[in-house]
Amino acid sequence: MATIELRQIRKSFGESEILRGIDLTIRDQELTVFVGPSGCGKSTLLRLIAGLEDSTAGDLLLDGQRINHVNPARRGLALVFQTYALYPHMSVADNMSFNLKLAGVPKEERERKVAEAARILNLEALLQRKPKELSGGQRQRVAIGRAIVRNPKVFLFDEPLSNLDASLRVRMRVELTRLHRQLRATTIYVTHDQVEAMTMADRIVVLQAGSVEQIGTPMELYRQPKNIFVAGFIGSPRMNFLSATLQQNTSSGTMIAFPDGATLHVPLISKSAQAGEKVTLGLRPEHAYLAENSVLAAKVQTVEHLGPESYLHLLSRYGEAMTVRVNGETTTKVDADISVGFDPGSLHLFDKSGLAFESPSMLTTGTGVSN
């Protein structure tokens, strides 16, 4: 049982502010993923929670207790490092029981706990090996085992899969999700990979340049990104962005105009955007299709056949790159002139500062998801 709360957490290294006032609640038993481009401060935030860095300002609470100055070992958290950070001179078993040994746990109990963790992680045959005699995936499991043995209140993972090859990464992803379901421990998982975030998270925290951009379940972020950054970051391939001009606000939506004057009614509204303002239209590749006739005419640049599906990379009539997902058996050829169709309900619209327009029903009924 553990919840973590961050209140206005700030961190500076010298002159540069790396975390700029983070407010966040990590809920009990949930797997929360911190995701964001590399260098945005994810590791710093995690290390700060772990106690390896001091915050410059703000409060860090564990189950309601302020733990800003509590020694890392006393916080009852376990951190799995990106580089695994195993003790190279100790056997797998010693790596896993080092913590218990320091805590003065008797030998039999240490061995029992190590055996238990080894069973969960399928490491039984490797207990006497040294880390350098293990493969990347095995080292990863030892690092996780070292965390499990401590029976921590919260598991912290810093990009644990980024040093593994692609197929192993997918397998470990599934294994970690299973492990989390099995242990039901509060977990924070840091990654720059939005696919990992989408597939593993109960709740995602999107970070950029030291600030929280949005918090929500994977599908909330996918369906209702709060701003253009989140919209572009979540989802693969990336959302298409087309620039347009706001022509008129209506009660049911917004009329926008493309550079050549063609207009489109988008069923989303904004309280602040004014007529004449530059806006950005967003359309996910998987929500677009080939149509007979639409405002979005384009020329095919390349065709990517993935088997079950294909991606058409297009250059729109307005000179902007677009991607559309189509049937895997598509016969569309390079240089073909096509027209992109879409359901207006799947469109996204962002004002000049990048803030998302909202659905009119959500504004009136007030059931919108917000954080």
Partner: protein, 274 residues
């Protein structure tokens, strides 16, 4: 291997041998001389072939007690190395893993103290030693050697510690290791080769240190450097005996250096060679 590569390699090998021979020639000559008779030692035209004799060694041992000097040397060089490590390990640990803006400057400043001639602090140190009764004691010499080697020892340990991944120590901290455990259970085992080569170098430097042993010790605590010196002035013309004394003085450290060549090279290149 292409002919050009082969020629290059041969050339470098020859050059290497030539330099090595040139550098070690005086040493070689000294050892040869120590086995000659006094007459052969001072011959105008050096004798390449001579009857080796242990005469000089016998005389040297008779005139002064070699073992007592050797024991002083061993105690002082090993003791000063241990003492230096005791202070250097925590300092290097702090500087390597919790650096501040001034760490770099501190390191350079420490090293710069080695550029000061020892004689510059002779008077204060002599007075301190006189007042604290440390003159002509092994403890006194040991402390001075330790302090003198401290900058180099810290600097070397610092570069070796820098190679230890900080995450491993942080993992230890998460596991509940305090600074002492972190150093003892993780840092020291992980940088053991570096610590060994640093200790070797510090031992050799202390063994060869002459200035302080000549000025601060006399009959009781004099190490082997003083033993050689005692043969240089009154019997300066007895080359064979002087050579025998010198050979006896450097033999232990030469053997130590020989068996630990690898570690030494690694140490002297300050961790640049892996």
């Amino acid at each position: 291997m292409t002919p050009i590569e082969l020629r290059r390699k041969t050339l470098f090998t020859l050059l290497g041998w030539a330099v090595a021979l040139l550098l070690s020639f005086p040493l070689l000559w000294m050892v040869l001389t120590s086995f000659k008779s006094e007459a052969a030692a001072i011959a105008r035209v050096p004798h390449l072939f001579f009857h080796p004799t242990l005469e000089s060694f016998r005389v040297v041992q008779e005139q002064s007690n070699y073992l007592r000097f050797a024991w002083n040397s061993i105690v002082v060089s090993l003791g000063s190395t241990l003492l230096a490590l005791l202070f250097a390990i925590p300092s290097a640990y702090t500087m390597a893993f919790s650096p501040t803006r001034r760490t770099r400057g501190t390191l350079l400043w420490m090293l710069s103290t080695k550029m000061m001639p020892s004689v510059g602090v002779l008077v204060p140190i002599y007075l301190i030693f006189r007042d604290t009764g440390l003159l002509d004691t092994r403890t006194g010499l040991l402390v001075v050697d330790a302090v003198g080697n401290l900058p180099i020892v810290i600097w070397m340990l610092y570069t070796f510690f820098k190679e230890v991944p900080r995450e491993v120590l942080e993992a230890g901290r998460m596991d509940g290791a305090g600074p002492v455990r972190e150093i003892y259970n993780l840092l020291l085992p992980l940088s053991l080769p570096g610590i060994v080569s640093t200790s070797l170098l510090a031992t050799i430097l202390a063994w060869n240190e002459a200035f302080w042993s000549l000025t601060l010790t006399a009959a009781k605590a004099a190490p082997l450097t003083a033993f050689i010196a005692s043969f240089s002035s009154p019997q300066g013309l007895f080359y064979a005996k002087l050579s025998a004394a010198s050979t006896m003085a450097i033999a232990p450290i030469l053997v130590l250096g020989w068996v630990s060549q690898r570690q030494l090279v690694r140490g002297l290149t300050f961790g640049a060679v892996k």
